[in-house]
Symmetry: D4
């Protein structure tokens, strides 16, 4: 509801080009259409300059394929997260260019390959089990036009492995850190860099890890001031926020 | 442990300018000194280009004043958060230029007034009770050289008040949103802007708000993709992260 | 134990029409019968003027069919919630008129089609994944004789979609809002209408949503005063309460 | 943003009565003013037909008195909840007609004494310690123009006391039930009446009551279908929702 | 609502001794009176054969004294739990025979000194800090006419102290065990005796004891089959249940 | 380590009937034997006068059958709880007299059919879904020699059904109450009887019932003084405690 | 109940030196005496070779002084933890040699100054606020005859400060690590040393630190294999366990 | 980064044996290699003198076999925990000497059979269901060169079984105690021995055991001072810590 377009509307009314009734209709004609079970907002990508994103989990392959192909009729990139091989098979039949990132469990349709990011996004994981979440962040950042470097299995109990790769950290304009269990890695990384760190707790662990809660709490209480946190296993969110930051 | 300076060290050793023993000592001579009860790292500001920060809560006025005045001997800005009037009185006696922000409960010593931020940081609060946390974010962002605009008491139950101020949102390069109770405001703001949103849950509320836990969970589960979260009542952290982003 | 009928009993005793012993028996003769594994209260519908409701989950198809057909021998409407296709198949064999609402996972037998509600009940969902819960509310409200309008996928991160449908909200006499994740929608809707809002947290989400707990807490702490809350995924309860309100 | 007034605006523009610029301004001129620390929305009462409400807790007597007196300049009723004797003393000096309900900890200024409710609201408490919360509900319902009957200390461990008062329940159009500890009373009451029951968990109890959490969970899981729940100790919310229902 | 008295009522009506109207009134005339803020049920003691009990916490000395003296006008014993010295002073002025048990924080008025229990109740505490809760159980059991033996400071980390007193355990007909911290004592005691064990978690401990939650969970999960549990710090409840058992 | 038998041991030593070495051995010869994976204590039944009990869950059919048949070689009754049909089939092959209670999921071998209980144990369930837990209590109490009466599906939302069966309650010497969801039934029952009530929270419910936690908390906070609680779904424990009480 | 002393008892009985009755008495005469409110076990120190320890919190100065002086009559060291200045003043009057460690809040009476430990115990704290807990560990380890080195304020966000002190770590035979907030330090330290690490979560932090719960969970989930954990703020326990290990 | 090797590096540079550039490279050449998905640190075993450990859970048989065989190329022992039969089959094909411990769910390759431990490690379990966790501790301690004695099914409800085996306890230099449900056993054992006790909560139990949380809390709050705790079901960690202690 940008004031410029509203002013134009008033001017057109004053000029008699459109009637008040029509003006009211136009004000209301917001840019989304109705698929019956989901209102897809084509213009959202324009508004925030970002690709359309579909949360795949809990949708049948048919539902996902329908939404995906519908959105694919418009320009721009598409990303379906938490997507299975079965869902991808259904999508692939309808949308030729779609690709599947198995580790990241993501379906992407990348038509806009422009570089939007201004620097490098570093994606770090504490253990090998955290890699799927890290890869979701990688795929997200990449489809949003960013150069990504990753650094996996550099958990805090072997701090020398992280320190041996400090140059990767130093190069990054934003850092994403994925860790389960005690979730300590973002604090250590946060102390080593002077840029924003996005922490992603993962559900990796057992017992008192409570499916990521221990890691989440650890990250919320980070003694490093440059750390902010997204939801457990939310690699997508971390990639998205990092991409926004890297655009600035 | 920048590889450039290490290389120089090796070169000086090769050139016979310093002995191996001395080189080892220099490697170890990390930049901090010992106050007895707290090792103050003077170089940290240099390293990350940020002011020194002291967490005031739980320190006696005397302790806080001692640390504050010690740090004040070096250049750069100083910020003491969660500081009381009593603590400020003690600091003021030792450090003339120190100022107190009552709402933010912050003591600042701002000597470097350079503008580091490249745009505006918007700080938003859902209710009037969230203002102290929001003000801590404001003070933090300002001492780090940022222009800040605030927008208070625009909670989601009166959505028109937020919408009436969309231009402030549109101007911002980063947005900080402080909210207690259900913590819904960051999701709404996140949907209205295309820039990173730092959400700060506050302990405002009663009963099932569990001193900020309800708000924290709400923000962690935000349906807006551009939201990341810091600890409950951590206005400082939000301001710090926002300042880092706004520098980029 | 209405005092009128008790008085009559005393009068009949005084008039010698019935003996004290018989009177005591009548007092005790409460209206339910014993199926062995569940005491079905046929008169409950009369007492509160509502259909019989069976909670399908955890019952075998045979058990559900037995209870359903037994209750079907009496007048009035029947609703089985949390019912599977298998359970419906078993019921269908015994009760011809029974119908299945797949999205709502509900079996209904609607014989009384009278309009009891005095206005429109609006049922709103934040996302497409919340629709099954919303549909349970719709089916419940409809079998209780209400006109229902629904508005799906209007979550707070795209607030313009909700605002574009404010007229639906304005028409409603009661509003039901189903939302998972951060559960923020009822607060926003609550601020837009002047009628009671029944909030239903859903178990939609992942990680720190804790199967609906985050949404539940968000709704309990709503800053809108006209919101009350039912259990996680309890679309039935919301529809029931809304129907009671809409009758008044 | 009622479409009628917008259409009028367009018509005035077409008629040349106001300029597009002015029209844009009017669209923006939303009805609230800035007190500096809280934006008070005078029109909100008009919009939802309800009194202005101030949450007293955490405000200084001076702050509360300032907001109260400011709002008192407009018509309609005023209610300050969670207010102390000290706060009332400050308010009383500025607003003569203000009265204090000690049990309910509420300050009221009732100028509109019209009866808005169409029936009786019954307010029930399980124990004597729940009475302050119940009284907050009573005061809220009364200032919103409702006739209220209360029934206190009728907890489930002495079920005969509740049953002895079934007529009060039968008369009510809406029932509010306040209970701490196990929070069982709303379920029992819900089974005895055919009208909506608003349950208010209270923080009464000790040990595993967890300041109202046990009661809250009990009420969320009520086996009675006509129960919805508000926050712990939120007598105001219950009274507000009940008043909205009783108006219908 | 004993059927015998109801039958008599019917017979009196048949005999014309009382009118139907009066009969209805008598049915309703349940045995409690209204103090304004609490309905005191004088007949409850008769019904369950137990003393009247007042929960002192949260009541002003004046309120407690008023209820206490009112109840003292009837026969039987009185017990006020969680009572302070101040409350006792107020009670003492109105009721001469009242006595204060400082450790147990209980006021008692014991007029019926009959022995109702058929054996010995053993009350055990794990540590010295658990003694106040244990003493509340002792006082409760004694005022209900039981012989009590206690055994304090016999926690599981010094198991020989417990074993050295096995004869006390062997003599008991019911055992009450109070323990904070890990709450392990009831399991050990449960394995040593063949009679019912009532476990009372206490709020003694710090850190991860969570004010009695750790002990409560420990007791709920006891591997001894003869253990049941009451609320945290609920010495009264344990004494009450034990007294009921010991009467059988 | 009864002092009588120890004294005898000393006397036998003094009399020269046994040597000190042998005496030490006898002291140590505690009554259990080693199956390799579980030490089965044959004398425990003697010690506490109760049947042997095996927790079936998590054991393979072969393991359960082995333990069961081993114990069956000694006298007395046997009970295996949480046992499946498969486990029973394996047991049945080895122990002819074993019987399976399907609802209770219990295998019993009842050789001692003596009546140990002195009165009736009433077992009550709130809903039909709570019956398996209630039946476990029934089977346990019966194998321990008690007469049991049950009363199922008398939840608090239909309080008249419970009241209509007050005579069953009145007859009971101990009452077991099984309830899920809000767990309110024990409080109501507790208020109606003057005997001990054992409350069993069940995992019946959904959403905020948290698999029995809501019911557990409700029961821990019962406002009825005669209620003690066992673990969630622990019908066995309730039956065991009730049987111990009923023996007294 | 050492078998050697029992055998002697039997031999004395056989030899007719003591009667069976007296033997039974001696068996029972376990080494503790009764202070009325606490059974003090003088021999426990002998048994485990450790000083007597009194938990000061919750005891009045008089109570603490009485227990302290009583224990002081026997040999060996004494330690009172969680002790205030007031408690120390009371102790000091009765026991001359007692000393107070203010930071550690501990009263010690060290008469046995023998070195029991075989190496160095390193005590590390993440921040300055964790020092009181660390000092409690230091005092405990020292009174148990150990050489202690400490390293404070070396939290993970400034990892270079820890690395600069690796030699202290390398020297240690056992390491105690105290940390609040995210509790990440033990994991990092654990990865740097090859000896046992005792982790102590502290209640330092705010918001989602939940008074040490976040740190506790972080430590329980440590990715370093050599870490075990004690209760929140339990510096004493850590010092005690470390001293036991260092004796081996 | 041992200072000795660094000094050598400097000396070689001074001596002109290596160039500064090469020196920088060597500093960086940390001892691990890249498998693509996991950086395996061969030197870690050297550093801490311990076997390589692989956490099997969540890895495919192929992944586990690849890591296992890769590590097997170096000397020393290997341990894969939480490994299934399927994983073992895959490992067995690549590494002949690998063996599977079914109860412990562990794959071991033991080439170094040297005795490193200096005494006996006792491993105790409360119930038979805790044995898998206990066996993981046994296998871990054994592969690290320790003599282990176990004592199973000696839970606190049958304390005589534990006491009958006190000699095993007395012999041990370190004790590991595994217990689920109420987790009380470590406290009792802790009081019986004067050596360090490592407590392992297990997820054994149901209802309010919350998959090991009750046991974990019980152990954290142990009243025995010599108890420290590892994560739920973390038999490996307990064995590892015990082995480190037993080496000292």
């Amino acid at each position: 509801m940008n004031s410029e377009s509203i002013r134009k509307l008033f001017e057109q009314v004053r000029a008699g080009k459109i009637s008040p009734d029509e003006a009211v209709q136009r004000l209301r004609h917001l840019p989304f259409e109705d698929l019956g079970f989901a209102k897809v907002d084509h213009h959202r990508a324009l508004r925030v300059g970002m690709p359309e994103v579909i949360f795949g989990q809990g949708k049948t392959p048919a539902q996902l394929a329908q939404i995906f192909s519908r959105l694919a009729k418009h320009d721009g990139n598409l990303l379906a997260t938490r997507a299975s091989q079965e869902q991808f098979a259904a999508v692939k039949k309808k949308v030729r260019g779609a690709e599947y990132h198995e580790l990241a469990r993501a379906i992407v349709l990348q038509r806009d390959k422009k570089e939007y990011g201004k620097g490098i996004i570093a994606v770090i994981s504490a253990g090998t089990s955290d890699i799927p979440v890290a890869e979701e962040a990688v795929v997200t950042a990449e489809i949003m036009g960013n150069e990504v470097e990753h650094l996996y299995d550099v958990g805090v109990a072997g701090i020398h492995r992280l320190l041996a790769n400090r140059e990767t950290l130093t190069r990054a304009r934003v850092v994403i850190v994925c860790a389960g269990m005690e979730g300590a890695l973002p604090s250590v990384v946060g102390g080593l860099v002077g840029v924003p760190v996005i922490a992603v707790p993962t559900s990796v662990g057992y017992g008192a890890s409570f499916k990521g809660v221990a890691a989440l709490l650890g990250m919320m209480n980070s003694c490093a001031s440059n750390v902010s946190v997204v939801n457990i296993d939310n690699g997508f969110g971390a990639g998205y926020v990092a991409a926004l930051i890297n655009r600035l």
